[in-house]
Symmetry: C2
Subunit: 707 residues, 2 copies
């Protein structure tokens, strides 16, 4: 065992390694299959079923794809400021910018409803693998198998939803090895309670993002309401009165979004050579274009601030991931397709192989080969667009050529008109009955959409599309220049008005086909090709990959079962670790915690220049504050995007912190976890209490915490 | 004539158009072939030979590729602050940042020498076309013709340099139709006299770059010295005491860098589909990476400020150009290769065509076809790198994969060791005798090179290279990850020390081959392939293109001679135009001049946030200033990058302004000029005088102007 990095890859691909005695603090574990043995052996703590159930039901997910926790019996919810940023933005006006000024509801009556926001709590989980696979025979071709599974999933979701009155979703785990059904209790009256100013929530801004030491109060409180009253919740986390000690065991419960730890060599090569370079190219361009717009005026900056922040965050993450993949040590001894094992587990697909004399040539492709072929398929040129499937899919069906909300809204309206005429099981996934509530909530949310921002974003994405598609842009997309065409589509569309959206949605196909809205007409023109891209992508890439990874997962399962954790899937997971500093690349020690004094020092060194200028309230409160109170802390927990807003929990189940970031070395957590330097970064529970009381005069909330 | 845009293209490609009566204020004209008739007809002004000679010799060029003018008999030189920014940066220290604080030499003795800076004045110009082409026969193959011309050029430069004691350079005009020899008087003791603070020099910063209205004091004064004393110059421009009126005729004399107004359709398509998208991709990435570094600390910002400013400027320009090329109207009626005329002018290459029966098939390719083929050749895959020649050349020979000064220095040292052993005519162009002074001045200039900035830039460019070259990066470039390899090369190199550079340069091949400097060894490893890229690029692209454009130019010449202007080539040119506002895209009127009051108003609207925060000195001087004094103005002059620092001159030959930018519509001046909206932007002469006296207490300089 030279390194944890090597371990992870070897485990999934070679599969005859012995589990080491003291493992790294690795993994985003299912609450139904937690690493009890590892935690007992390394930390001497017993995970109980009761503890797990309590934590799971205390931790809701935000519809905006962040994590959160209930922190009082009165439905008080804690998450990151950056998770709630979109809602703060939507509640802002030019005169009252909540991101800039922060917000505090002095009384319950002042708590501000957030249109379109909902949170969901996983109160039910069940392994439905057998039910999903019931209709699939061993020789069913992949496309057919996918259709059968999709239909089974749709039926299960419907059945369980009706039975339990919960929102039920089936999630694919272990790359298709296991299917889990989660039943969520939904809260859709969520109100804003307290938010600090952006200047302290993300002190250090983009420059300090993914860096450490840090000084961020990246925290916001919301409250769940039911029937117009604060929700009464049974499961919530109490607030710890003591700071966690160095090396103390801590947990993170939350919704990590996506990891790719079982990816094959060829698939990771595709990520390294195509996916991330392309993603970065788009992000670099957007960051520059949005920044240039923001810098022209303060009002511009307010309007595009949220988009720009998101792009900067994605960019830094994608670059860290690409750089991780470009590390040669990652690829040494990584078995290629030719050397992949030709055996499948008992009950697997070994019977489909034909042994050809002494040459042992498989007549059926190995799963590794199927995945390599799917990667190749993404790069084969499409007959219509003359670009490869990967780019065609990304530009058209994923909408990257038309990157604006107006397009997204129009696309949803046009597709809904046609999809909702079909039986549930035959619809595109996002238009199935069990997803319709979410779809409508998003579609009809009355959130501001700015015409100038829309033109800017669409113009930029069309410009990239035109330079990438070369001669094909004209007239396939348009016979006008990108900037002119963007202005025409955005100015000529009324779908930014909610009433018009409702009219078109309710009017169905007839209303949509009769509409002379410029964007609706454009979507109708493009829809056939967009659907074609999606169909090809699903058939040539998604379905064979899902089948191949299922086969790999089967092989792993026969050996390890759920004693290894599945890749992250935006469903509830538990990670364990300890409070611990690390050495940076130059060999210098980085301490685990920072404190309030350090924040003021960093501000002074930077001459209080943005983004190192704490809000006036903090400057004025400095004399009253205990400067030794911890501000941020790092722990070895294995986290990834989606975990933002997760509580950091001690063994008593109390909140000791609030996850908001990972350090620079954690960026390759997508593919590998390394305990040596990878750290998650939290807001310390102590600074939240200290500032609620002494900076924000928010005793109402401070008193409520943990009650 | 529908539009000037259409006119330009049509003129160069169809060539049977009649010259319209009142032409647009288009063209960057040779001083030896000025548009006398057009100016007489449109403005009633007679250009005289004496006037032209006086202006030409009053306008030096900066070695850093900017324009300038002598504005006193004592060698006082005016240029843009952004032209002098590199020198200001190099004279700065962490404690005394001249870009931030500005600079004023109270006395002559305080004027600060600028290492490595030189200016050149064109005192001689001669048409040497016949001499360059003397050895070239009609049937000489292009590669051979290029070699013969290169040798003739080298010989002419040497001969004239020795004869005149001037620095003599031959410039290709009309795409090879004409060769001009310029003899320059060189001043290489240049001292800094006065510079305002960056905050007013580029008020509005990147956000306002290429926009209008503007409020920039983008001006810096230097002084030329000879033998340790201020140079006595015969030709200099007097300062106008009156502001130019609306519609008044004004001239710009300067060094426009590069236009592509004679490019064929296929060549422009290449620019649109490959060149600009690739250039923008690199610039977007760099802007983000450099910004992220700058934002981490004030010292970082100081170190990378100059690189970042340059990247932002290039990015905005490239995007404007790409958007210009993406305009469909540009391409309508643009003849493709198949429809290009098959006739050549008398004396041309018509005799090489063979008429094949009735089908009139040319056995020799038309110049348009040759250019199209050269464009195709750039995109054919290279056998070694497995990427196309265009990218291979750009990454390796143009050094875009190794974007840092340490690499550039090491490359110069390694190549010099081998090239200087060869006869003058056989050397790579930049190592020929007539270029050696410049080469040494650059190589040995003791300017700061920061290790962290170098690692950042190299790491970034290697990362892009690795993602573009995919599997080839390892081990062709390195077997290490880009970031690690960048740190190793930069930390392992001593060439940032001038003494070490001198030792290696003087030690020649022996010293270079014995060196264990990490970057020197890397350059030696890569040099063979870099030279191979260059050779292939010259043979397959440069030489055939030069020959084809020469043929096209010949055709044009037979019809128009020098009555049309040649493309810009960083040599002295004259442009004419008038002071005039315009209508923006929304149809709103934009006035020609702004004033000091407007600057203060814009600052207030932006709440004095950077880059809209004028220096403290300006705020304090506000009461003393005449707020109605004009600040910036726009004129219809046809300019392009390289014109920065050019004087704006009235018919009396007096300075009325200082060119520093073009508006957004001028960005496509590279390909087409449109008088309707394209404007050049100048600092008004009046604000320079007003601020020298009332803000900077620089009466010494104000008094000297025009004396």
């Amino acid at each position: 065992m030279k390194s944890a990095m090597k371990y992870t890859i070897a485990l999934f691909l070679v599969s005859f390694l012995v589990v080491p005695f003291l493992r790294a603090d690795e993994g985003m574990w299912l609450f139904d299959a937690p690493p009890k043995t590892q935690i007992k052996e390394k930390y001497g703590f017993d995970l109980t079923g009761e503890w797990l159930k309590h934590i799971q039901q205390s931790c809701p997910r935000f519809s905006t794809r962040g994590s959160a926790s209930f922190v009082s019996s009165g439905g008080l919810i804690m998450t990151n400021h950056h998770v709630g940023a979109r809602n703060l933005h939507e509640l802002s006006t030019p005169e009252n910018n909540l991101l800039e000024k922060g917000f505090y509801a002095e009384t319950l009556a002042d708590e501000r409803p957030c249109p379109g926001l909902e949170i969901i709590v996983p109160v039910l989980s069940e392994d439905v693998t057998a039910k999903v696979n019931a209709g699939v025979k061993p020789n069913t071709p992949p496309e057919q198998a996918k259709k059968l599974r999709d239909a089974a999933v749709a039926a299960l979701e419907k059945e369980y939803s009706e039975k339990t009155k919960l929102r039920c979703n089936v999630t694919t785990l272990y790359q298709g090895g296991v299917y889990y059904l989660y039943g969520y209790k939904v809260y859709n009256d969520i109100r804003l309670v307290w938010a600090p100013e952006q200047d302290i929530a993300s002190f250090g801004g983009d420059p300090d993002n993914y860096e450490y030491p840090r000084y961020c109060l990246d925290c916001t409180f919301f409250r769940a309401y039911e029937n117009g009253q604060p929700a009464k919740v049974e499961h919530f986390l109490k607030w710890s009165q003591t700071a966690p000690a160095e090396n103390e065991l801590v947990f993170v419960a939350g919704y990590p979004g996506r990891t790719e730890r079982a990816y094959t060599k060829e698939h990771l090569e595709f990520q390294r050579d195509t996916f991330f370079p392309w993603r970065l190219r788009k992000l670099y361009e957007r960051e520059v274009i949005y920044s240039a717009f923001a810098n022209r005026s303060l009002e511009n900056a307010r309007r595009i601030g949220d988009d720009l922040g998101a792009v900067q965050n994605y960019r830094k993450r994608a670059l860290g991931q690409l750089q991780g993949l470009q590390t040669p040590s990652l690829w040494r001894d990584f078995p290629s397709v030719e050397k992949s094992p030709n055996t499948a587990p008992a009950g697997g697909r070994i019977n489909r192989r034909i042994v050809d004399g002494g040459r042992n040539k498989p007549a059926v492709k190995s799963p590794e080969q199927q995945i390599a072929d799917a990667c190749k398929a993404m790069l084969e040129h499409d007959h219509v667009t003359n670009i490869s499937l990967f780019y065609a899919y990304d530009f058209f069906e994923a909408g990257e050529a038309f990157n604006c909300k107006t397009f997204q809204i129009a696309k949803t309206l046009v597709r809904a008109a046609y999809e909702l005429e079909k039986p549930n099981g035959e619809r595109l996934k996002e238009y199935r009955d069990n997803n319709l509530d979410t779809l409508k909530q998003t579609l009809f949310a009355d959130t501001p959409v700015y015409e100038d921002v829309e033109i800017l974003k669409l113009s930029d994405s069309l410009t990239l599309c035109a330079s990438y598609l070369e001669k094909l842009y004209y007239p396939y997309v348009s016979d006008k220049a990108p900037a002119a065409f963007a202005a025409e589509l955005i100015k000529g569309s009324k779908v930014r008005d909610v009433a018009e959206r409702k009219r078109l949605f309710e009017g169905g196909r007839k209303a949509v086909e009769a509409s002379d809205d410029a964007m609706i007409r454009f979507v109708r023109k493009m829809d056939k090709e967009m659907r074609n891209c999606r169909k090809q992508y699903e058939e040539k890439v998604e379905a064979p990959m899902a089948a191949a990874y299922a086969e790999l997962a089967e092989r792993r399962f026969a050996e390890s079962g759920t004693s290894v954790y599945p890749d992250a899937t935006f469903t509830i997971r538990l990670s364990y670790g300890a409070v611990r500093g690390y050495k940076d690349d130059s060999g210098a020690d980085v301490a685990a915690t920072t404190n309030i004094a350090g924040m003021f020092e960093r501000a002074e060194t930077q001459k209080f220049k943005e983004p190192f200028n704490p809000p006036q309230r903090w400057k004025e409160a400095k004399g009253k504050l205990d400067l030794s109170v911890p501000f941020n802390l790092v722990t070895t927990n294995d986290i990834i995007g989606g975990n933002s807003g997760s509580p950091l929990i001690n063994t008593k189940g109390e909140v000791v912190g609030l996850i908001f970031d990972g350090n620079i070395y954690s960026l390759s957590n997508s593919f590998v976890y390394t305990e040596e330097q990878s750290r998650s970064v939290s807001v310390h529970a102590a600074v939240i209490l200290e500032s609620l009381r002494k900076v924000y005069g928010a005793a109402r909330i401070a008193d409520e915490l943990g009650k």
